[in-house]
């Protein structure tokens, strides 16, 4: 190798900086709160040959770890095959097709070829979660869709920007198929501008160090990331580790879906076999291959957070293609639950398999649901329709060092929940309770963190409530002798009595009238270790503070 190790470190930091600046630019300029506040977006640099991930912003939503390399690879292949128009400088492709290396339809990807001296040097790509892409329900999280067409507008890769200019015809088609289209232009401009920022910064890096040096550094960094990951996974003794995780139902057929995982460790190599998992399902709890892969990667990154995100780090992780299962769904299977829910259950399966060989690194299962409660209705006082989302946290699993965190964000997210006061300002609702859910943490040497309990009343007009949650049937798994955390519960108090969704954690369009109340209890985390080994002082403290 001719590159000195210092230059290599500096270029690594430089590539990371380019991505971080794209993330920052995207969030700050974005219009939609989903992107601006919740950071439901990600930016990265991808290789010109096969789309392999070179670097990705550190502040991207975890579920996007590695996903864009698949959409970029498919795009490169389609361009080579002539099924997508060839790129020109300053073009930007838009795509949200889940089956072409995507997640759900709401995650809209932009990809921009980055040219040096007339040749494509690499691709810059980003993903932003749009608040709506059409379909049966506002926001796209249908609990009961049976085909992808019901979930929204599906875009193959097309050039939304042609040589720097927004194509008004394509944009008009998009706008006439999505809700609140008038606000989307703010997000489109922000998403495109972030790629421009990336282009400027990457040009500066190349000008400074030289194209050949950077190219060589990229190749070397890939090799080294691979070496680093191999040495870390060698902390795991060779052997086979099995686990299971369950999804309550697909929202349509009321039967649990099983994720069955077998991890095989050989020197420097981990193989993930999901082939025994349930077949594709009717409802939207299918996952597409790219999401399944990135769910494994994000779980491994939770276990080894020190490894930067890059294709090299993924190389020692072999995920056997789980064809024939619901983790490798094909058109037209509905997939809106893949990014928010199925991904977290895949991560749970990875944690559950590896907590035995890596007890100091891995926690018992976290709540593992985004806790999506959507309320759509008409506010007669404000004279307008609205859609309200309440995303909730839950307890984290206990771990080798301490009890699980209470009310933590979903495994795949990093966003904050909105304040109650802002919810009540914007929507005709009144919260009666927002509290720690006592007794919800799984018992253990270190118990699971507590879930959340909230109760909210509709004050005016009528509305429809929808739920896409999970862990209603089976609580988050305890580990190494710890007990499972409490299950998710939904109760609706209406004038006719109390109603519980048939699928426990999933249902769409439950009618509410003023005065009706929704009560949600989110899962507690799994316990870690035998409860008999728990420090009695911790137990006394828990009882004194009403945590158990």
């Amino acid at each position: 190798m001719s590159l000195d190790p210092i230059t290599l470190s500096v270029i690594q930091a430089g590539l990371q900086q380019v991505c971080d600046e794209m993330d920052l630019s995207f969030s700050r300029a974005a219009f939609s709160p989903v992107i601006a506040e919740a950071n439901d977006r990600s930016d990265g640099i991808y290789s010109a040959e096969d789309g392999a991930l070179i670097a990705q912003g550190a502040g991207g939503l975890p579920v996007f770890v590695g996903t864009m390399q698949y959409s970029t690879r498919v795009l490169i292949e389609m361009i080579a095959a002539g099924t997508v128009a060839a790129p020109k400088p300053d073009d930007i492709y838009i795509v949200n097709d889940p089956y072409l290396g995507g997640t759900h339809l709401m995650d809209v990807r932009f990809a921009r070829p980055f040219y040096r001296n007339g040749k494509i040097f690499c691709w810059l790509s980003n993903t932003g979660h749009w608040p709506d892409t059409g379909g049966a329900v506002p926001g796209g999280f249908s609990a009961s869709a049976t085909s992808v067409e019901q979930e929204g507008l599906r875009l193959p890769p097309v050039r939304l920007f042609k040589e720097g200019e927004l194509d008004p015809e394509i944009y008009a088609i998009i706008c006439s198929n999505i809700r609140v289209a008038d606000q989307r232009i703010g997000d489109v401009k922000a998403q495109a501008a972030a790629l421009m920022v990336g282009e400027d910064r990457l040009n500066a890096l190349l000008d400074r160090y030289g194209d050949d040096t950077v190219q060589e550094a990229i190749a070397e960094l890939r090799v080294r990331a691979e070496t680093q990951m191999r040495s870390l996974i060698d902390e795991i003794p060779d052997g086979t580790y099995r686990s299971r995780a369950w999804i309550d139902s697909d929202g349509v057929v009321n039967e649990p879906l099983a994720i069955k995982l077998m991890v095989t460790k050989t020197p420097g190599h981990l193989q993930f076999d999901f082939s025994e998992s349930s077949p594709p399902c009717m409802g939207p709890m299918n996952s597409v291959l790219a999401t399944t892969l990135s769910s494994v990667y994000l779980a491994m990154r939770h276990i080894f957070p020190e490894v930067p995100i890059s294709a090299g780090a993924f190389a020692p992780l072999e995920v056997l293609r789980p064809d024939g299962t619901f983790l490798d769904a094909q058109y037209p299977r509905p997939v809106s639950g893949c990014a928010a829910e199925v991904s977290q259950r895949i991560a749970e399966a990875v944690f559950a398999a590896l907590v035995d060989p890596l007890p100091d690194r891995v926690t018992a299962a976290p709540a593992g649901t985004s806790g999506n409660f959507a309320l759509g209705g008409h506010d007669p006082q404000a004279g307008r329709d609205y859609v309200m989302y309440q995303l909730s946290g839950g307890g984290y699993g206990g771990n080798a060092d301490h009890d699980g965190l209470s009310n933590g964000c979903s495994t795949i997210g990093i966003s904050k929940a909105p304040p109650i006061e802002i919810m009540e300002q914007n929507f005709p609702v009144l919260y009666h309770k927002y509290a720690m859910r006592e007794g919800s943490g799984g018992a253990g040497k270190h118990r699971g963190g507590l879930g959340l309990e909230y109760e909210v009343e509709l004050r005016r007009g009528t509305a429809r409530a929808s739920f896409v949650m999970d862990h209603g049937r089976f609580g988050p798994q305890g580990a190494l002798g710890g007990a499972d955390g409490a299950v998710n519960e939904v109760r609706i108090s209406r004038s006719g009595g109390v109603y519980t969704p048939e699928h426990l954690s999933k249902e769409q369009d439950i009618p509410l009238t003023a005065g009706d109340r929704v009560n949600v209890k989110t899962p507690g985390g799994g316990g870690y270790g035998d409860p008999a080994d728990r420090d009695p002082d911790l137990d006394r403290e828990d009882r004194r503070l009403g945590r158990v």
Binding site: Q17, G408, M436
Partner: protein, 681 residues
């Protein structure tokens, strides 16, 4: 008129710094002693003794303290109880459903007030401030007695939507006041009348739980000073960069959190204005961390959304100082990929870098500077353990050099290069997140290690000039001396921009001005003028984030509000959205009592300066792999108009200034040095 004799004394994590300026002669004295963490007043006394001052002749003492910051970070707080809206006592512990880091599903959170001291009473407002459930007054009285019986010393009363209607909080506070034995009662709306129950509640809880500690501390300090003959008022620095009387400071004790870093930025703004540098990025590198802030038009950026650690927001206006990690004690290591990493682990102050000789064995940034000849190896002899340069070199060669195939010196250079690249990236991110391109600013370098790295960082960032003040190591204490009085007010209004909104905004501004003027009038400091700053926080309907729109007047027209918003939005995001309506979220006023100007021209004693710049010695210093025979100058001996060309090193008691080859230095007013990067003007 110049100020009279004034003392600024700042207690930092490691050192207590003192500066005193004589208003008549401009004479300046400086002292630096170790901080005494358990009782900071000891360190303050030691500094006063060291400066050998007759306190009877001192007119004003301004004090920066870490009492409250440390109390919060270490949770050494007064026992505090909470009374809150029924159903919501856990808001302070649930937070906003976050985790400490994006990756890694571990972490813990310790609320300011434990669950058994959080009590609920029936009462409820809606978001418009309409009463839905009347206040249960008997319940309040019961809860107050229960908390008193539980041994609480301070009390928080925090109800939902009190920013919209504080009536219940006010009534409950009156009920409590009849029972509570002291004044330590904080209502949620009183510090910051802004939406967001978690942030407002934590702010109030922090305030209450540090009130008794701060009050006891400043009372003790005042007594000790008066025993030494001091007859004036003691003022305390707030995190907003303004000062307030120690007799009043405990009422809003939360505002003193992070006052030290704010104070340094105020000194930077003051020094910069006198030097004609009104746009600065401040860069304060110490032993354990590096702080960065932005100053535009001599005005530091202020934020009321500071989080001092994970899930610990203190939502009162504070100078927006961002910690970007690395300090001189940051540890370098080679990771499993064979790549050199610097930080985030730090050797801290104890044991500290190897070169401190206190038992540190891991290579740090300071050690790298020592090996490269940038820090004076003579200092090695003066410290306790007596570590030699060879010992440091051996550790670098073994732990860093061997895995990378480099020798000790090359490893040390690598550490500096990687550390500078990462720090530059972090500074760039701070600047961009505040909507500023770093190239439009000069770098203001201070702290013990700032001037050592400033030239390389500026080069990395494309910044043409670095300003190095006369006394980089006592900048925070200097901030105390130059501070003004400052009172900030924030009121949430949430109004769509229109004719109705304008009248309401004018009324809010009028209330805030009245409150601010009254507050300034309670202070005893002499002022040259009282100034008001007005702004509104605005957003487009449908957005969740806001931008701050400065206003020239407290009676803006609808058109002025709209145009102001569009202009700020364009400057920040380069996006115009004429089709979408705007909303006014908060109304903000700052009332500033401007104190007399301070003469900084004698920060370096003119009588000590020599006629020509003569190096005190030459040292072998490594730059870019090449050893340069580098002249070393003593800062206090440089002529007032000195110009130097790199490579050169300028040493002084509190810092070391590094001038790499190709850069040059000129002298400015007040003893400042200006580093011109790569021949920039």
């Amino acid at each position: 008129m110049a100020k009279d004799k004034i003392i600024g004394v700042d207690v930092g994590g490691t050192f207590t710094d003192l500066v005193t300026i004589d208003g008549d002669t401009g004479a300046i004295r400086i002292a630096k002693t170790p901080t005494t963490l358990d009782n900071q007043a000891f360190g303050v006394n030691n500094a006063l003794d060291m400066a050998d001052l007759d306190l009877a002749s001192v007119d004003l003492i301004v004090h920066g303290t870490t009492t409250t910051t440390n109390a919060v970070l270490e949770r050494k707080l007064s026992r505090t109880g909470l009374i809150t809206t029924a159903g919501f006592r856990d808001v302070l512990e649930l937070g906003r459903r976050t985790r400490p880091q994006p990756y890694g599903m571990t972490g813990q959170f310790f609320p300011i007030i434990p669950r058994d001291l959080r009590l609920e009473v029936p009462e409820r407002m809606d978001a418009t401030g309409a009463v839905l459930t009347p206040l249960d007054e008997a319940g309040v009285a019961r809860a107050v007695r229960d908390l008193l019986d539980a041994g609480c010393e301070a009390l928080v009363i925090h109800f939902l939507h009190a920013y919209a209607n504080p009536a219940h909080e006010q009534r409950a506070a009156r009920i409590a006041a009849e029972i509570w034995p002291n004044d330590y009662i904080t209502t949620g709306h009183s510090l910051l009348s802004e939406t967001r129950e978690f942030e407002r509640g934590v702010t109030a809880a922090v305030n209450a739980s540090v009130q008794p500690l701060l009050e006891r501390y400043v009372t003790r300090l005042r007594n000790e000073l008066s025993q030494k003959g001091y007859r004036g008022d003691v003022l305390v620095m707030n995190g907003n960069g303004g000062m307030v009387s120690s007799r009043l400071v405990a009422r809003e004790a939360a505002k003193t959190v992070m006052s030290g870093p704010a104070s340094g930025v105020m000194a930077a703004a003051y020094t910069g204005r006198r030097a004609g540098e009104e746009n600065l990025l401040t860069y304060d590198m110490g032993g354990t961390s590096t702080d960065v802030a932005l100053i535009r038009d001599s005005t530091p950026s202020v934020s009321n959304e500071i989080e001092i650690e994970y899930a610990m927001p203190i939502h009162v206006p504070m100078v927006d100082v961002r910690t970007v990690g690395a300090g001189g004690g940051s540890i370098a290591s080679v990771d499993a990929a064979g790549l050199l990493q610097v930080g985030p682990a730090s050797a801290g102050a104890d044991p500290g870098p190897i070169c401190y000789g206190k038992g540190g064995t891991q290579p740090t940034i300071s050690d790298a500077n020592m090996l490269l000849g940038r820090l004076n190896p003579g200092k090695l002899n003066s410290v306790t353990g007596g570590v030699s340069k060879d010992q440091i070199a051996d550790i670098f060669a073994d732990t860093l050099g061997a895995p990378m195939g480099l020798d000790a010196i090359q490893s040390a250079e690598a550490v500096i290069r990687v550390a500078n690249a990462k720090m530059a990236g972090a500074i760039r991110m701070v600047s961009l997140s505040l909507g500023a391109d770093p190239r439009d600013f000069a770098l203001f370098a201070f702290g013990g290690a700032g001037p050592l790295h400033a030239a390389d960082l500026a080069r990395e960032l494309g910044i043409p000039r670095v300003l190095i003040p006369a006394r980089p190591g006592i900048t925070n204490a200097l901030g105390c001396v130059v501070a003004d009085l400052r009172y900030d007010y924030v009121q949430t209004v949430n109004l769509a921009l229109g004719a109705d909104a304008v009248g309401r905004i004018h009324a809010e501004f009028a209330d805030q001005i009245a409150a601010g003027n009254a507050a300034v009038a309670r202070e005893t400091v002499t002022l040259t003028e009282v100034r008001q700053l007005f702004s509104v926080d605005m957003q487009f309907l449908g957005q969740s984030h806001v931008v701050r729109v400065p206003l020239d007047t407290p009676v803006p027209t609808e058109a002025e509000l709209r145009q102001g918003f569009e202009k700020v939005y364009w400057n920040r995001f380069k996006v115009e959205l004429p089709e979408i309506r705007a909303r006014i979220v908060n109304v903000n006023t700052s009332v500033i009592g401007v104190s007399d100007p301070v003469d900084l021209s004698r920060l370096i004693d003119p009588d000590g300066r020599h006629a020509t710049a003569t190096p005190s010695e030459h040292r072998q210093v490594v730059f870019d792999g090449v050893v340069h025979d580098t002249p070393i100058y003593w800062r206090d001996h440089l002529p007032a108009d000195a110009t130097l060309t790199g490579p050169a090193i300028i040493e002084q008691l509190d810092t070391t200034v590094l001038i790499p080859p190709g850069d040059h230095v000129t002298s400015g007013r007040d003893g400042n040095l200006i580093l011109h990067i790569g021949g920039a003007p």
